[in-house]
């Protein structure tokens, strides 16, 4: 198939960027979106030009490295799918496709489609864990957890930290990411001990990093490759208020 691509090129965080047109005439409907970009890069190399930089690794939808805004939508048109799991058969011969990086001031652009998402790591560092010593854990079955509790925690824990939620949000809020971690841990008995300090630290860090506030438009859930529910945001807010009220 033939494609007309408009791809964001930007040398570095402090240089201006622009959309550049590329033409690919030998795309194959079975290719993944990233393989299509590989093919564009091969053309660029053959012309002696520098390649389009983008992050990717497992290409199985689980590492969370990849992600770009495709025709205005993070991860593109397929529901519940990351960019690496999007295939060219979702497009038509002759289509024009616009590809841009995830945009948010808390995600500085490194180059082209590559952005710096280390703010997410710092949110976790601020307290997004259970303080337990590795070698000193109690027997696992001494902590009974109902199937429902476990699967509720799992649903939140499934977040791959790709950042699509931030990129889709008009406020560039990190509420879905942060709340997924908060509710994953607070829904388990072993995570309840630190529930108050954890949520306050994480929410504060989220603000420090420059993410915007959540105004609950639910765009994040719509683009999330793991289909993490916005109900976690509601629970995070509840946890935060609870902590602040000293309950």
């Amino acid at each position: 198939m033939e494609l007309n691509l408009r791809i964001w090129r930007q040398d570095g965080p402090d240089t201006p960027g622009q959309l550049v047109n590329y033409h690919l005439n030998n795309a194959d409907p079975g290719m993944s979106f990233l393989e299509m970009l590989d093919a564009v890069n091969e053309q660029l190399i053959n012309n002696g030009q520098r390649v389009i930089e983008f992050d990717h690794d497992c290409r199985e939808g689980i590492c969370g490295s990849c992600g770009m805004v495709i025709n205005g939508r993070p991860h593109g048109p397929a529901q519940g799918s990351s960019t690496c799991q999007l295939h060219m058969r979702s497009f038509q011969n002759g289509d024009q496709i616009t590809i841009e990086p995830f945009r948010a001031s808390a995600f500085p652009i490194i180059r082209d489609l590559k952005v710096d998402r280390s703010a997410f790591d710092r949110i976790i560092d601020s307290g997004g864990y259970i303080s337990t010593n590795i070698a000193a854990a109690p027997e696992a079955n001494s902590i009974l957890i109902s199937k429902d509790e476990a699967s509720h925690a799992f649903d939140a824990a499934a977040c791959i930290g790709c950042g699509a939620c931030v990129a889709s949000c008009k406020n560039a809020s990190a509420a879905l990411f942060t709340s997924a971690k908060v509710t994953h841990l607070v829904n388990l008995p072993q995570g309840k001990v630190e529930r108050s300090t954890r949520v306050v630290q994480m929410v504060n860090q989220m603000d420090t990093e420059g993410f915007g506030a959540c105004s609950f438009t639910e765009a994040c859930e719509a683009v999330c490759p793991q289909q993490i529910s916005v109900s976690h945001i509601a629970q995070m807010n509840w946890e935060y208020n609870r902590a602040k009220l000293g309950m």
Binding site: D28, P29, G30, M31, S32, E35, M36, D38, N41, E42, L44, I45, N46, G48, R50, V51, E53, D55, D57, C58, R59, E60, I62, C63, G64, S65, A78, Q85, H87, R89, I110, R111, K114, S118, F120, D121, I124, D125, G128, Y129, I130, T132, N133, I134, A135, A137, P138, A140, I143, I145, S146, K147, A150, F154, A157, I160, G161, H184, Q190, G191
Partner: protein
């Protein structure tokens, strides 16, 4: 002589006695000591967290943009532990026995026993971290069964066990980052090891954003850099998986063990076009209900539903009536390749076999099959666009896991003093074939439990030693070598992109040193790889510069090492004149076409020493079995 430092005494006491007698570093001294950890997967990440918790100063490096993205994240099936929660007779000895037999008697007893022993505590640790494993209605942990065993000992978190375990490890890392004990360096790639008088003293790393080449010194260095099956280009591994850290350590003096032992998974998606960049694993569990077949007539290109039963060859059921479609991974993979090579392959590239659910759907109904494998059918459809409820799936074997790796002793130390290797990048626990769900286990116990004890035994005698200054001649030499390599790569400006060399190397290795190997194919492979390497250094084309983000350059520094490792893999496979586990040498098979192991001649670990000029030198670590009887595997 290789000394594996295996403690004396009965197998079930070795580890506890080792721990009771090894030297310790007291808490006040630990904080004065720096340990570099390369890799933030379950092995490296676990080690970093545990060492940080003990109070060491840890510098943790990974090439990913976050420690959360290491390849461990992709493991689906589960992690084994001898908890006997199902009361089905499991115990540490049985688990040890299954793994030794599964590895076809080419692993070290003491290590395997310790892995089984520590599995029990691992699950406790993960649960305490908040890993949401599957639960029974009563709130206790659930288990399932995996290939090669008769008990249910696999713990899992839906199909995302690796991801969930890694989030646990990452929590432990985050806690130590906050405590100031771990310094984290993401997007940093180790490109060389610095060695002084046989001892590892530091690393050379490249910052992937600025291109800056940095020097870091440490009292000890831990590699948890994963496996190298991506050398085949098409494999189930993540795109970034590579051998550079282990290979550079090898070139600086660490021995590499059993490099040709590579596990090929029988049920991945086949390559569907020439642009394919990786192969996706389809769970082996599909073989419980799917029947595998190919058209009996070679070149038959009718669509599958038009091929009547009488013209189908259910070759696994025919050749292995007792196990049928559930033969072990190595056998199923080899049988598929035989059919494909003989012209019976199906699909657009004639490189696959059918995995057919027609009979299972007729027998159990579509709903039952959907409830068992619905997510896998969904994933298959997402990738191929094909509805496997109607048309049989196309599956093919693909390289998946490397049993070979850096040689380590019982303490996980390589042949270089102060250099440790844990997880998939060492060779130790899986012999010539890995059992499913054992490698997450190995990575975790190496990192969380074993290394933090054994490294103390080494560091305790180095408390008074200051860090090596990073301006010494060894650092100068390693850094200029790295810079030279990069300059040279960028200056060639040839006609082929890096991927061309990687793909060609992969195809050669698959053909000559893949599922089955022969003297003839291996000799051919060695020759072809040498030629390709020469072509690479004359004709590779890398755009962009050294001091900027440059993914082509990153690929090139990895492929450059793969082009050397590939040859050693062939040399290793050539010298091993027997068939065992994943290593099937065509000249050594029974009349029925089964593996013919040679315990007298080859009951050892092959550990290769690098030489700047000429062939590498083979060292042998003889394997002796005291706790098990060595037997022949039989699946007929």
């Amino acid at each position: 002589m290789l000394d594996a430092k295996i403690p004396n005494g009965p197998i079930e006491k070795k580890w506890s006695e080792y721990q009771a007698t090894c030297a310790l570093v007291n808490a006040a001294n630990r904080k004065k000591m720096t340990v570099i950890v390369i890799g933030s997967g379950l092995a490296g990440g676990g080690a970093a967290a545990a060492l940080g918790e003990l109070g060491y100063h840890v510098k943790l490096f990974c090439f990913h943009d976050s420690t959360r993205r290491a390849h461990s994240v992709a493991a689906q099936g589960g992690v084994n532990a001898a908890k006997n929660y199902q009361n089905d007779g499991d115990n540490v000895y049985r688990m040890f026995y299954d793994a030794i037999k599964g590895g076809d008697y080419r692993s070290r007893e003491a290590n395997v026993y310790r892995m089984a022993e520590l599995s029990v505590r691992l699950i406790d640790t993960c649960v305490a971290q908040g890993v949401p494993f599957a639960r029974e209605y009563g709130g206790s942990l659930g288990n399932r069964s995996f290939g090669g065993v008769q008990v249910e000992r696999t713990f899992y978190a839906q199909g995302q066990t690796g991801q969930q375990l890694l989030m646990g490890t990452n929590s432990a890392i985050a806690r130590q980052v906050k405590a100031g004990r771990i310094e984290r360096f993401s997007r940093h790639e180790m490109l060389d090891l610095v060695v002084k008088n046989g001892r590892a003293i530091g690393v050379i790393v490249r910052d992937a954003i600025t291109g800056e080449i940095e020097r870091h010194a440490a009292h000890a260095i831990v590699l948890g850099t994963g496996g190298y099956a991506k050398i085949y280009y098409l494999s189930t591994m993540a795109m970034g998986c590579n051998a550079t850290a282990a290979w550079k350590a090898h070139k600086r003096g660490a021995f590499l063990a059993n490099p040709s032992f590579v596990q090929v998974h029988p049920t991945s998606l086949p390559a569907l076009g020439k642009h394919q960049s990786k192969l996706t694993l389809m769970s082996e569990s599909l073989r419980n209900d799917g029947r595998i077949w190919v058209p009996a007539r070679s070149g038959d290109d009718r669509s599958p539903e038009k091929i009547p039963d009488s013209e189908r060859d259910y070759y696994l059921e025919r050749k292995y009536p007792a196990f049928g479609n559930l033969t072990p991974r190595d056998i199923a993979a080899r049988a598929a390749k035989e059919q494909i090579d003989a012209g019976h392959g199906v699909g657009p590239m004639r490189n696959a076999v059918f995995l057919d659910f027609r009979d299972a759907i007729a027998q159990h109904g579509r709903e039952t099959i959907q409830s068992r494998y619905g997510n896998l059918f969904g994933m298959y459809q997402k990738i191929t666009g094909i509805d496997a409820y109607v048309t049989p799936m196309l599956i093919a074997p693909s390289p998946h896991f490397t049993m070979g790796g850096l040689w380590v002793d019982y303490e996980l130390m390589t042949t270089l003093e102060g250099l440790y290797a844990c997880g998939e990048c060492n060779f130790a626990d899986h012999g010539s074939n890995r059992l499913g769900a054992n490698s997450l286990l190995q990575a975790c116990v190496d990192g969380y439990f074993i290394l933090p004890s054994t490294i103390g035994n080494f560091l305790s005698s180095r408390i008074k030693e200051p860090l090596s200054p990073t301006d010494g001649p060894e650092f100068d030499q390693a850094e200029s070598k790295t810079r030279e390599d990069i300059q040279k790569l960028l200056s060639i400006k040839g006609s082929q992109p890096v991927d061309y060399f990687h793909r060609t190397l992969g195809a050669t290795l698959w053909d000559c040193c893949g599922i089955s190997r022969s003297r003839e194919s291996l000799n051919r492979g060695i020759e072809q790889i040498r030629e390709l390497r020469e072509q690479f250094w004359n004709d590779v084309n890398i755009t962009g510069g050294a001091h900027e983000p440059n993914s082509e350059l990153e690929k090139a520094t990895r492929v450059m090492d793969f082009l050397e490792l590939g040859e050693l893999m062939c040399i290793d496979a050539l010298h091993r004149e027997e068939s065992c586990g994943a290593h099937f040498r065509e000249e050594y098979q029974t009349k029925e076409g089964e593996s013919l192991r040679n315990d007298e001649g080859f009951g050892y670990v092959s550990a290769w020493q690098h030489r700047a000029e000429g062939e590498p030198i083979l060292h042998k670590e003889p394997l002796s079995f005291e706790a098990v009887n060595v037997m022949t595997r039989n699946y007929k």
